[in-house]
């Protein structure tokens, strides 16, 4: 008798839960996710800003839904018209690029697309100090006629077409009204894309709701009544969202890759990053041995890539010896096995360089993409040829960036997204590149880069390969494994596909199955 009341309260609570669970089945995530109605896409990080001038490439989804790019990159890597119906270079030096715009296009706020709009937009993003602005800085933009824009670059830029796709964000054009109030662009959208952000149904940092843009020029391209981009940081919770039917598409994670396949989810993944080590001190400033190319080559020969790939990147990695991914920009199949695992040859090269007993060097790593594990594995393997690596593991990503790019460490772990070689140069190997903190200046490399920047077609492909081959032979880096960014999808949707030329999933192609 004495226990009846508290137990009754407890039972009532339990009963309430059961009733609630049973009575509102129609509002479950399963029902909400019916194909054609709402597409829920899960990503693992929220964008710092929705402003196309300031957004980061990792956050491209948040902008591509609302901002139609000038040029659309399809999942197979081919380029197709977006706001521009055609485009071409003028002259032979890749300095003048002309875009012809689609007529009668309106933004979601009702304003019209003109060449002037595009010029103002490109002016804005090139000065907004965003991640990709450096690729446009110094260029001039001219409205040649009401629907023609001419971009004139001070230096050759062979990658305007790719740069102006949705993958690089800055190709997504902002409306005149949006440009007039740039303070609003961080949390609102003003584009001509298939959808527009519904701020009332959005909680910044958690979920972003997009509804169809009534002015979209191609209504057939609007496949959903609503698209929700949901941010979930825990990899297992991401998978659970798909398994429970709350979401249909997500970014994947190496830790859940096997489980996703076992659960029957569609898994799409194409090579995106090469992971390894940057041997930055090629002048021997703080680690004298690295000044000798034979030492750098020895480290490459002492690296057992297939073992590391199998152990650390099961199902999501391929061994690589070049600073690109298999099939990617500048990839040379003939050089795929340039550095087979050969510790004896490595010892021989070290001896020839004057280090028969090896040496000691420092290396800094972060934990992104398992770089710390990769660094430890390499340290173990290189110890076999007498090279002792003192690994500094920066748990704080900012600290890692500061250490790696300041020239304090002769070597640092690297996970580098594959980029067109022209874009890679200023970041990876030219004298002012961040990944070249000791400012190694190589005349041959600069000459090849200059030639490639002006070239086109097969000549350019050949020169790009030549650059990547040269970097491999000079052993500026120790590339180990290429990895992809996996995406998961339920069977209720189609179009979840990527390719080596378009490793980032395009949401434009995701549509209801059947």
């Amino acid at each position: 008798m004495t226990v009846r009341r508290p137990l009754a309260v407890s039972a009532a609570l339990a009963g309430l839960l059961v009733i609630t669970a049973c009575s509102s089945g129609s509002a479950t995530g399963r029902a909400a996710g019916t194909a054609g109605d709402t597409l829920t896409v899960v990503t693992v990080a929220s964008p710092q800003s929705l402003d196309p001038g300031k957004a980061q490439q990792n956050d491209a989804w948040f902008d591509q839904l609302a901002y139609e790019p000038l040029i659309v990159r399809r999942s197979d890597g081919t380029l197709q018209p977006g706001l521009a119906t055609s485009w071409s270079y003028q002259g032979a030096d890749n300095k003048t690029f002309v875009l012809h715009l689609r007529p009668r296009v309106k933004f979601s706020d009702g304003s019209a697309l003109t060449a002037r709009t595009v010029v103002d937009d490109l002016d804005y993003v090139s000065k907004a100090h965003g991640q990709l602005a450096p690729f446009l800085v110094g260029d001039t933009f001219t409205a040649t006629d009401p629907l023609t824009v001419t971009i004139t670059a001070t230096d050759p830029n062979p990658n305007f077409p790719v740069l102006l796709t949705q993958d690089y964000i800055i190709g997504g054009i902002i409306s005149p009204k949006g440009l007039a109030a740039p303070g609003q662009l961080g949390t609102h959208t003003s584009g001509a894309g298939p959808y527009m952000l519904d701020a009332a149904q959005t909680v910044t940092g958690d979920h972003y709701t997009y509804v169809p843009n009534p002015n979209y020029f191609d209504p057939k391209g609007v496949h959903w009544h609503k698209v929700v981009l949901k941010v979930i940081t825990n990899a297992q919770s991401v998978l659970n969202a798909l398994r429970s039917g709350q979401a249909q598409v997500s970014v994947g994670d190496p830790s859940t890759l096997v489980a996703a396949r076992q659960d029957g989810l569609t898994v799409a993944s194409s090579p995106l990053l090469w992971n390894g080590v940057t041997l930055a001190d090629r002048g021997g400033t703080v680690a004298k041995p690295l000044a000798d190319v034979r030492v750098r080559q020895a480290l490459n020969y002492a690296t057992n890539r297939s073992v590391i790939t199998g152990a650390l990147f099961t199902g999501n990695g391929k061994p690589v010896s070049q600073v690109t991914v298999p099939g990617g920009y500048g990839y040379d199949p003939a050089m795929a096995n340039l550095y087979p695992y050969d510790p004896n040859k490595a010892r021989q090269l070290l001896a020839q360089a004057g280090y028969p007993n090896g040496f000691t060097m420092k290396l800094v790593t972060s934990e992104f993409q398992q770089m710390n594990l990769l660094a430890q594995a390499l340290a173990q393997q290189w110890q076999r040829i007498g090279v002792h690596v003192q690994v500094t593991d920066d748990a704080n990503p900012d600290q890692y960036v500061s250490d790696a790019f300041s020239g304090k460490f002769p070597a640092f772990s690297t996970a580098f997204g594959q980029l067109p070689v022209w874009m890679e140069g200023p970041s990876l190997f030219l004298p002012t590149a961040a990944y070249n903190p000791f400012h190694t200046d190589d005349a041959t490399l600069k000459s090849l880069y200059a030639q490639s920047s002006r070239a086109s077609g097969a000549a350019k492909t050949g020169l790009d390969r030549h650059i990547i081959d040269y970097l491999a032979q000079q052993a500026w880096f120790v590339p180990v494994v290429s990895t992809g960014l996996p995406y998961y999808a339920t069977t209720t949707v189609t179009g979840v596909a990527t390719s080596v030329n378009a490793p980032l999933l395009s949401l434009y192609e995701v549509r209801p199955a059947g």
Partner: protein, 316 residues
């Protein structure tokens, strides 16, 4: 009463000042800054010139005291500042996150209070098998890691049975049932340990009170067991339990981060982690401000409960 209210207000303001100033200092001591956070997202790296330029753009190149003064000045004018990255007012950015956090925290405190007190009374009253069972259950609540429990609950009740959503949060306005369903699993997860804590506290206090002389006298007067337990003993035993409930509430405010991550609940904890990771100082300050207010209110509620439960406290 007026004097006490003034004293409470002054101490609350001092606490608010100390916490927000300390937050400013602690954030500045952490390696990196917001400019590096913006730039480090670039796989292409950045130069020192770009870094200095970004610091200036974000307004974090000013001395820390100046930044704090600007923040305080804004606060006095009703503004918590703006998000460094997207320009959104911090009050707007956090507005949608207070509801989810409060729902989970108050839900957990409610469940822990009702179930924990119930089980504690059973355990104190019944020394036999029922009491032992309750003891085992409460010990289990302590022992089970809530992260693991969360994953099991999702697997069973969201993936296999689909009774509750695996994650997310539904605001109560317009869909109260959806709201309850969205917080059930997080609340159960957080309640496991909390129920055990409250049950243990209740049991010890009740056992102590029930062994006192005045209870024997009440029995001698012929009062029924229910009346003794609920009208007299529970009232006496409740004071320490209320204290623990208050501490639990304060602890949960900052302790739900992991569970928010597992259940993808857009709470203040998650935002605090994100903002700390990117050194988004105005947002961190805003969250510290709200947490401090919540702590002050929780303490006030505990004090008021004391007065209600204990006539001596009321008289003093």
């Amino acid at each position: 009463m007026v004097r006490e209210t003034v004293r409470w207000l002054v101490s609350s303001l001092v606490l608010l000042f100390v916490v927000t100033a300390l937050t400013f200092v602690l954030v500045s001591l952490a390696p990196g800054d917001a400019a590096r956070s913006v730039l480090s997202g670039q796989s292409t790296g950045y130069t020192n010139q770009q870094y200095q330029q970004m610091r200036h753009l974000l307004g974090i190149d000013q001395p820390l005291p100046v930044q704090y003064w600007h923040w305080l000045d804004g606060l006095l004018h009703g503004s918590l500042g703006t998000d460094l990255f997207n320009g959104q007012p911090v009050t707007d950015a956090l507005a949608g996150r207070i509801g989810p956090s409060l729902s989970i925290v108050l839900g957990t405190v409610l469940v822990a209070g009702l179930v924990g007190v119930g089980l504690g009374i059973v355990s104190a009253r019944r020394a036999g098998i029922a009491g032992r069972i309750v003891d085992v259950i409460t010990l289990g609540g302590f022992a089970v890691p809530n992260f693991w429990l969360a994953l099991v609950l999702v697997e069973l009740l969201a993936v296999k049975v689909a009774a509750f959503p695996a994650g997310g949060y539904v605001p109560p306005a317009g869909d109260p049932a959806g709201w309850i369903r969205s917080i059930v699993l997080p609340v159960i997860t957080l309640s496991a340990g909390a129920v055990a804590l409250i049950a243990k506290q209740t049991r010890d206090c009740m056992a102590d009170v029930l062994s006192r002389e005045f209870v024997t006298m009440l029995r001698a007067r012929g009062l029924g067991t229910a009346s003794i337990v609920y009208r007299h003993a529970l009232r006496n035993a409740a004071i320490p339990v209320v204290t623990v409930l208050g501490l639990l509430l304060i602890n949960l405010l900052g302790g739900t981060v992991l569970i928010e991550a597992v259940f993808a609940v857009p709470g203040l904890g998650q935002e605090a982690v994100t903002a700390s990771g990117t050194h988004n100082l105005p947002v961190i300050e805003g969250i510290a401000f709200y947490f401090t207010i919540a702590v002050v209110v929780a303490n006030l509620l505990v004090d008021l409960s004391y007065r209600r439960l204990n006539p001596k406290a009321r008289a003093s």
